[in-house]
């Protein structure tokens, strides 16, 4: 079954279109509601940016979608299939790659080993797929055999994105990729993301505090506040909505 899930090429159009569909998702940590009936979709070939202040529930959203945190109610559909209760380990075989906050490199492993872990579940993976990641991020080539803890913040971000791509996902969940990076590097990474999405029909659910950068690259923007969605719209429309920007996005 996992094989068929992997075989689905990016951009496969389904009858209802969305790669990921989240319906009325609620997540609580004890008495605290981190997510309150959140519904959204992420479509192939589009970047959906989830924005909001610290504590708005952005990270909780991604962690619930990928199963790291269990929802109290609601459903998560991946290409129409209910994955709400599926184990975390199975997500990547189903075509969902989640890059957690804080650049989830495995610090003790080398760059190459980190990449190999990303492709482990697929069995034998041809050298050309690794070369493609190194082509996308040439800075990783010379660091190939260095432990990942020697990398700079930007290089780590490149490594985790490259590693996620080796899983050949149909949807990529990215948690705060811009955190702590120089604006130039952020622009570079977002630009590359845009290219990948346009070229391969990848679907991206991007969580960002850096709303300005995120909206500049995204197709759709979703604004979260205290676990609830307060706005969903075209990225350009959101960018133009000054009241909303001042109220929730801080610019």
């Amino acid at each position: 079954m996992p094989d068929t899930a992997v075989a689905g090429t990016p951009g496969t159009t389904r009858t209802h279109g969305a790669t990921l569909e989240v319906r009325d998702l609620t997540t609580s940590y004890g008495p605290v509601r981190a997510l309150d009936a959140v519904s959204l979709t992420a479509e192939p070939g589009r970047i959906t940016a989830v924005l909001g202040a610290n504590g708005a529930g952005k990270t909780s959203l991604l962690r619930t979608v990928s199963g790291l945190v269990r929802s109290t109610s609601g459903t998560v559909l991946l290409d129409g299939e209910d994955i709400t209760k599926s184990p975390v380990e199975s997500m990547v075989t189903r075509g969902m790659a989640h890059v957690p906050e804080g650049r989830g490199v495995i610090a003790e492993l080398t760059v190459e080993e980190n990449l190999r872990v990303g492709a482990l579940f697929r069995g034998k993976v041809g050298r050309e797929e690794y070369d493609r990641v190194y082509d996308l991020f040439p800075r990783l080539v010379e660091r190939r055999d260095n432990p990942a803890h020697t990398l700079s913040g930007g290089e780590r971000q490149m490594l985790v994105i490259g590693r996620a791509l080796l899983a050949r996902p149909r949807i990529l969940l990215l948690d705060e990729p811009s955190l702590g990076l120089a604006p130039r590097i952020v622009a570079q990474i977002f630009g590359l993301l845009r290219q990948l999405v346009d070229a391969e029909g990848l679907s991206v659910l991007l969580v960002e505090q850096n709303a300005r950068s995120a909206l500049s690259v995204a197709d759709v923007g979703i604004v979260l506040n205290l676990g609830r969605i307060v706005a969903t719209d075209d990225a350009r429309t959101l960018m133009a909505d000054e009241d909303l920007r001042h109220a929730y996005l801080g610019f």
Partner: protein, 293 residues
């Protein structure tokens, strides 16, 4: 000169066993951040499995292999059934649970097999080789001990460095959450890690038992030495465990031969531990880099 060479040789052989035991502790510490105080009694239990089979008329090597396999199963069962419940919880819980296991296994073996001393066969001769008319302290059995530990270490290195399952185990050990997101079945890898560690611990138990006596508490001193060796090496480093084991084996052999005999060996081990921790708190092989997930 003869005495020095003999002391060095017996220290090396002892050190190899310490190294194996320390390696087992390090394997578990690295993957689950638990110090397995039950390691010694688990190894003792599997040695008794071997002894029972030898008494039943089995070939030594067959009993040896079955004991290692039973170590694998015991390690896996202990992790899956007992340790899984305290993993990721407060550290003290794991300490108490492994200490409890240590006592429980020892008591269980004493009930089943009795607590009297029983002699355990050695697979090879216990008489030293003769070189130029002198008999040295290197016996065929000690050669076997050294070779067995070296081969085991080589296999472990190969497993972790060159195989997919080894890579998955390292990923699971160093970045549990990330590994799960990448599709690594972390629970399975932790079970496998405990199982392998128990095999290595069992090997140490079988090797130190060879040509000697076994009883339910015969591993107790090895637990202390193995733990000191592991901490000397930094507790996180397999190579450190091996070097720590050898350093400790040699140091204790010299102490025993030149400074007051075997009665001060235990004391010496703890003095070495304290001195190393004072000078290099992270152990001899601690990486200077702090862990970051």
């Amino acid at each position: 000169m003869q005495q020095f060479i003999d002391t060095t040789l017996s220290g090396l052989a002892q050190g190899m066993v310490f190294a194996a035991f320390a390696l087992a502790l390090v394997l578990i510490w690295r993957s689950t951040r638990i110090v397995n105080f039950a390691q010694g009694s688990m190894a003792m239990a599997t040695t008794f499995v071997a002894l029972a089979l030898v008494h039943a008329g089995w070939n030594y090597w067959l009993a040896f292999v079955v004991a290692l396999v039973s170590g694998f199963v015991l390690g896996a069962v202990v992790e899956r059934v007992i340790i899984r419940r305290v993993e990721g919880g407060p550290e003290l819980n794991a300490v108490i649970v492994t200490l409890g296991l240590f006592v429980a296994i020892q008591a269980a073996v004493a009930i089943i097999a009795g607590s009297s001393f029983q002699s355990f066969p050695a697979p090879f001769g216990l008489r030293g080789f003769t070189i130029g008319g002198n008999t040295i302290a290197l016996t065929p059995n000690r050669v076997f001990v050294i070779v067995a530990v070296l081969v085991t270490m080589g296999l472990l290195v190969a497993l972790f460095r060159f195989t997919r399952v080894g890579l998955a185990m390292r990923a699971a050990a160093f970045g549990q959450e990330v590994a799960r997101l990448l599709g690594v079945r972390v629970g399975r890898m932790l079970t496998l890690g405990w199982a392998l560690a128990a095999v290595v611990g069992s090997l140490a138990g079988l090797l130190i038992a060879g040509g000697s006596f076994v009883y339910p508490a015969y591993m107790d001193s090895l637990i202390v030495f193995g733990f000191v060796a592991a901490v000397l090496g930094g507790l996180d480093s397999p190579i450190g465990a091996v070097v720590g084991g050898l350093v400790l084996g040699l140091a204790l052999a010299y102490v025993s031969a030149y400074f007051g005999g075997s009665s001060v060996v235990n004391l010496a081990a703890l003095v070495i531990l304290v001195v190393v921790l004072l000078v290099r708190p992270g152990g001899l092989f601690a990486s200077t880099q702090a862990r970051r997930a």
